[in-house]
């Protein structure tokens, strides 16, 4: 137990020290996104990696959070700190209601249903022009602030977003190593046996779907207040797939894996930009290689790789 806490504290300190190494600059802005993506990847991983239920519509929940916060603050002048939890609870409640019929489905059918859900939400963003500004987006969303401290720079946002992301990591770790986390994994491995053990699988799946949507919504609100502008393009099907890729590449059923996946998939395109037109090919190729050679995700693949390299090194010296 204590070792897990120490690991988390070390992780948190490391994260909070990063800005000292790269003060300011464009990279800082990218690292803010790594934080938001980590939250989203954890949210999806709770659903996919732990409970074993797929969602191809999580960009929709992310977008709902962003737009609810955006509209409430920019159009109606609400306090962002009030809009964010309201958005989160609404999105969670919506997911809870939709979850009951949808999560009866399994496998490909569930993928189709959540895909449809994501697309419907995307269409709503585009078509309700009076409210969302339609395809041209919604601007004038205020930055978050505490008293006179306004989170308007990348470094400030870094600390804001990562504080909330670290809280999400901690909650995720707690949940994963608890009675509920075990029940989720039990449902994943054998739903029929989980039910015989008294787990109300149906309710549990809906609950975790709602929690996952709620966390995604918070990430969306933070995104809106950091960017001060949102448009539907950020919340389409492509982004849902990208989130799924983060979770799988990082490692299914691992909270730290979600962090690794989110980090890699956010940073990689930035570094590959140097390759100009070939970046997307290299990106795709790298992902394929990783799935082939690290089927357990980065979180299991990297330690394996280190062990292999050490062994090789040891043999070479001998």
């Amino acid at each position: 137990m204590n070792r897990d806490l120490l690991k988390f504290l070390a992780f948190a300190v490391l994260i909070l020290l990063v800005p000292l190494a790269f003060s300011g600059g464009y990279l800082m802005n990218v690292l803010v996104f790594v934080g938001i993506h980590t939250m989203l990847a954890i949210a999806l991983n709770l659903l996919l990696g732990y409970a074993g239920q797929i969602s191809l519509g999580h960009a929709g929940f992310f977008g709902l959070g962003a737009y609810l916060s955006g509209v409430l603050t920019a159009t109606y002048g609400w306090n962002p700190w009030l809009a964010m939890p309201l958005a989160a609870v609404s999105v969670g409640a919506l997911a809870f209601m939709i979850g009951f019929p949808i999560l009866k489905l399994k496998g490909h059918y569930l993928a189709m249903a959540t895909l449809g859900l994501g697309i419907i939400i995307y269409i709503v963003f585009n078509e309700t022009i009076d409210l969302t500004g339609g395809p041209s987006g919604l601007s004038g969303i205020p930055n978050l602030s505490i008293g006179s401290l306004v989170f308007d720079s990348d470094v400030k946002n870094y600390y804001l977003i990562w504080t909330i992301t670290l809280v999400t990591v901690l909650l995720g770790l707690n949940l994963a190593n608890s009675r509920v986390g075990r029940a989720l994994r039990a449902v994943h491995d054998s739903e029929v046996a989980a039910r015989v053990m008294g787990v109300n699988a149906r309710l549990l799946k809906v609950q975790i779907f709602a929690l996952s949507a709620l966390i995604s919504s918070v990430a969306g609100s933070l995104y809106a207040h950091t960017m001060t502008f949102v448009s539907p393009a950020s919340f389409g099907f492509n982004f849902s797939v990208e989130l799924l890729t983060m979770v799988v590449i990082g490692g299914l059923g691992s909270i730290y894996g979600s962090f690794l996946g989110a980090t890699l998939l956010t940073l990689l395109p930035e570094f590959l930009r140097a390759a100009h037109d070939y970046d997307i090919i290299i990106y795709g190729g790298l992902l394929m290689l990783m799935v082939m050679f690290m089927p357990g995700g980065l979180v299991r693949g990297i330690p394996d790789l280190c062990r292999k390299l050490l062994k090789k090194g040891g043999a070479g010296n001998a």
Partner: protein, 251 residues
């Protein structure tokens, strides 16, 4: 304790069970036997809430539990094991048994996420309970093994430990000796007797005649969807109809 009243099950045009009734008394080990296709598994699936019967009722402690889903039956004290063991393959042996204590604990999503003090103390209570049942079935040394990597016989013991962790009043086992060698079957027989000694009622659906005759207090024989006989092992062994059903008629 458990009563089956006039159960009839019709699949399409096939009558799998026809007006089957019997009662299981508390503290007994009851065996349900019968040749292939007799309807044993169908009956088992009706009692455990997987199928809903065409007619008839299932009574648990005198209340009608027909058609209740398995998670409700578990809370009422009825738990089952599976013929082709259903483990949580990606979890360790200890974690598997800990899931068995799900109904004996209550921390929800929020309390678990926040690691509230009570959910932490509950967690250690769950761990202790799980260790107790692992010791009872003799799998303590396998605590950290991933369940998916267990040999079949150990998997069976794990499944029983997990079911016992529910602290049921009655445990239904679907062919617990299937896939076990004779040594393992003997150990299983002893384990089942020890479970009965705890005051837990045991129902076995089983092919292994020796096991059934050895440890059962009462036996129900099904054939072709009907109850053929009911009685002590001695009575069943001497019953001509039963012998005829198993070995075929002279005519």
């Amino acid at each position: 304790m458990l009563e089956v009243c006039g159960i009839t099950q019709i699949f399409g045009g096939v009558t799998a069970l026809e007006d089957v009734s019997f009662a299981i008394s508390k503290g007994d080990i009851t065996g349900v036997i019968g040749p292939n296709g007799a309807g044993k598994t169908t009956l088992f699936n009706i009692v455990t809430g997987i199928y809903s019967q065409t007619a008839g009722r299932v009574l648990l402690n005198n209340s009608d539990v027909s058609g209740l889903p398995s998670e409700k039956l578990t809370r009422l004290g009825l738990v089952r094991t599976f013929q082709n063991i259903e483990l949580f393959g990606g979890m360790t042996v200890l974690e598997n048994v800990m899931v068995g204590l799900h109904t004996r604990s209550s921390s929800g999503l929020l309390a678990c996420s926040l690691r509230m003090p009570w959910s932490r103390s509950e967690e250690s209570r769950i761990r202790e309970g799980a260790l107790k049942w692992m010791e009872f079935t003799g799998i303590t040394d396998l605590a950290d093994v991933t369940a998916g990597n267990l040999p079949f016989g150990k998997g069976r013991l794990l499944e029983i430990a997990r079911a016992l962790a529910v602290e049921p009043e009655i445990i239904l086992m679907d062919e617990p000796a299937a896939g076990l060698n004779s040594q393992e079957t003997m150990e299983l027989a002893r384990l089942i007797q020890r479970i009965r000694d705890l005051g837990i009622t045991v129902v076995l659906v089983e092919h292994d005649m020796e096991l059934v005759m050895d440890i059962c207090d009462r036996i129900v024989v099904l054939t072709l969807g009907r109850k053929l006989a009911e009685g002590t092992p001695r009575e069943i062994q001497d019953n001509h109809e039963v012998i005829a059903a198993y070995l075929g008629d002279d005519e």
